[in-house]
């Protein structure tokens, strides 16, 4: 699903955000991207949805050569994937239903399809009963569910999450992670960048650890810290 080969990224001011990163993520995988702030997690995700292009290397997402993508083809790529952010990025003057529908309407979807798929996405995230409410009337967890529904409404094969639980309390965090896991079970590839240790340690999924713009370890059933669970750190 995702393939990065020798990808590097330098910002115009000279900062090296990514340094020779190679990474393969298969269809249907669930992958945590962990590391301290500023180690390149967000930069890596931005390359995947072509918010920017790499300085070097090749990137393939769902068969699309993202590093070579022409400006006019970016919308086509974005329709193949959903993106979720820490700050939800909802439109405050639109209801939950309208926010989710917006993602379809602006891609020129037929209104029949909108009417069919929006309720389905809202059902999946458990917000069907709040579809007429505005983001300001929702809790943080509900806002993030709305954002996830919006990311999923076009049935993407890939869901990218950048600190999806960064603003949420532990209980809500657990609920959101369970939702992401459910989505993954339906066949969607999910990539979550996070520095929430508890979540990573509890779920025991593939963990790609980054430091200073490089991938330092890649474990099949990993912990947040290399080879150690939370309890082991505390007792050790």
């Amino acid at each position: 699903m995702i393939s990065l080969r020798n990808v590097s990224l330098a910002y115009p001011n000279g900062t090296r955000a990514l340094d020779n990163v190679s990474l393969e993520i298969g269809k249907g995988e669930f992958v945590f991207l962990v590391g301290h702030s500023g180690t390149g997690k967000t930069s890596l995700l931005r390359l995947l949805y072509r918010e920017m292009g790499p300085t070097g290397g090749t990137i393939t997402v769902d068969g699309i050569r993202v590093d070579r993508l022409r400006h006019g083809r970016i919308p086509a790529l974005r329709r193949h994937l959903g993106v979720v952010f820490q700050d939800y990025k909802l439109l405050s003057d639109k209801t939950v239903w309208e926010n989710v529908a917006f993602a379809m309407q602006v891609t020129g979807a037929h209104s029949k399809d909108v009417g069919r798929q929006v309720p389905r996405a809202l059902d999946l995230v458990g917000l069907a009963h709040k579809s007429r409410m505005y983001p300001g009337e929702l809790s943080g967890g509900e806002q993030q569910r709305t954002a996830i529904a919006r990311a999923l409404v076009n049935n993407p094969k890939l869901l990218l999450c950048d600190e999806p639980t960064g603003n949420l309390d532990p209980t809500t965090t657990t609920e959101i992670m369970e939702l992401l896991q459910r989505i993954n079970l339906k066949g969607t590839t999910v990539v979550v960048a996070t520095h929430n240790q508890a979540v990573v340690d509890r779920m025991r999924r593939r963990v790609v650890r980054m430091e200073d713009g490089r991938v330092v370890t890649d474990e099949e059933r990993g912990y947040y810290y290399l080879g150690l669970g939370q309890d082991q750190i505390l007792s050790g």
């Binding site: 974005r78 990025k89 979807a109 209104s111």
Partner: protein, 293 residues
């Protein structure tokens, strides 16, 4: 036709338009003022052009025959002139008639008893169809046999024609300036509304909306602002014409002002078109600049 899709689109345009109402009203007002000035200018220009044409159309060539020309020779010249496609009319003025006219025109200023014999030759009064051809026609009359002096107001003709062409080029310059000004105003307004909606645009780009789709509502907003501005301007111009024009005609009666040849409806449509095109193009440019960065 997908009615749901259309409703969504129109809803977006209307929502954005009303949300930035104060800004849009400012833009519409300024565009209206610009178009009023443009319209007034076009009207004045058309009136002046009408006056010039009026004068030019009254210009005639007096072709005096040679003193010894016979009646047959004069008739030959006259029929040659009538065959010329550039010439509108030819009037024969005999010696006798010429003298009578002369006496009439100068009664009281010259002592007519001095005129003991008729010094005037026969004359043909020629009117041309297009004022621009006066000099050429006069020159070709001069070449005909048995023609003496050929006289016309050559100074007046050339000055009027020159004034006309200067007026036209100044006019084009002024019109371009007005259109650019209106464009800048609309594009600034649109840039502000784009800025106010940058979150929305970012989300649209994130979920894969094409730039064309993102642009559309803004273009429609600009179009709407341009058209509304033009409509306001046209109404103001119409009122001004009804209120002011009769007084002008009355007070400047010596100018024989006449606007019958000005097609008000056509001019209104032109202004409307100017407003619409300027609005759409200006917003296309200002959104495009934002989307590229």
């Amino acid at each position: 036709m997908d009615w749901g899709k259309t409703k969504f689109f129109l809803g977006e345009v209307l929502r954005n338009f009303t949300r930035n109402a104060a800004m849009q009203i400012t833009a519409i007002g300024t565009v209206a003022v610009t178009i009023v000035l443009l319209g007034a200018f076009l009207f004045v220009r058309a009136t002046l052009a009408g006056l010039g044409t009026e004068v030019l159309n009254q210009i005639e060539i007096s072709a005096y025959m040679a003193g010894d020309a016979t009646a047959a020779q004069v008739a030959a010249v006259e029929s040659a002139l009538r065959a010329d496609p550039r010439i509108l009319s030819v009037t024969f003025v005999s010696k006798k008639q010429g003298l009578a006219d002369f006496r009439d025109q100068n009664r009281g200023t010259i002592d007519m008893s001095l005129l003991t014999e008729n010094p005037l030759p026969d004359k043909l009064r020629v009117k041309v169809k297009a004022p621009e051809t006066v000099s050429a026609v006069a020159a070709s009359i001069q070449k005909l046999p048995n023609v003496g002096n050929v006289v016309f107001a050559s100074d007046l003709v050339s000055r009027l024609l020159q004034a006309g062409s200067v007026l036209r080029s100044i006019g084009i310059g002024v019109i371009v300036v007005f259109i650019v000004v209106a464009g800048i105003i609309i594009s600034n307004t649109i840039r502000l509304t784009v800025f106010a909606r940058r979150r929305e645009i970012a989300i649209m780009q994130l979920v894969g909306a094409t730039n064309t789709f993102i642009r559309m509502p803004f273009i429609c907003e600009g179009l709407l602002a341009g058209i509304l501005g033009a409509i306001v301007a046209i109404v103001l111009l119409g009122v001004a014409k009804l209120a002011v024009w009769p007084h002008l005609v009355e007070n400047l009666s010596w100018l024989s002002l006449d606007n019958a040849h000005i097609d008000g409806t056509a001019m209104a449509l032109e202004l409307l078109l100017v407003g619409a095109v300027v609005g759409a193009v200006a917003s296309w440019i200002s959104v495009g600049r934002y989307l590229r960065t």
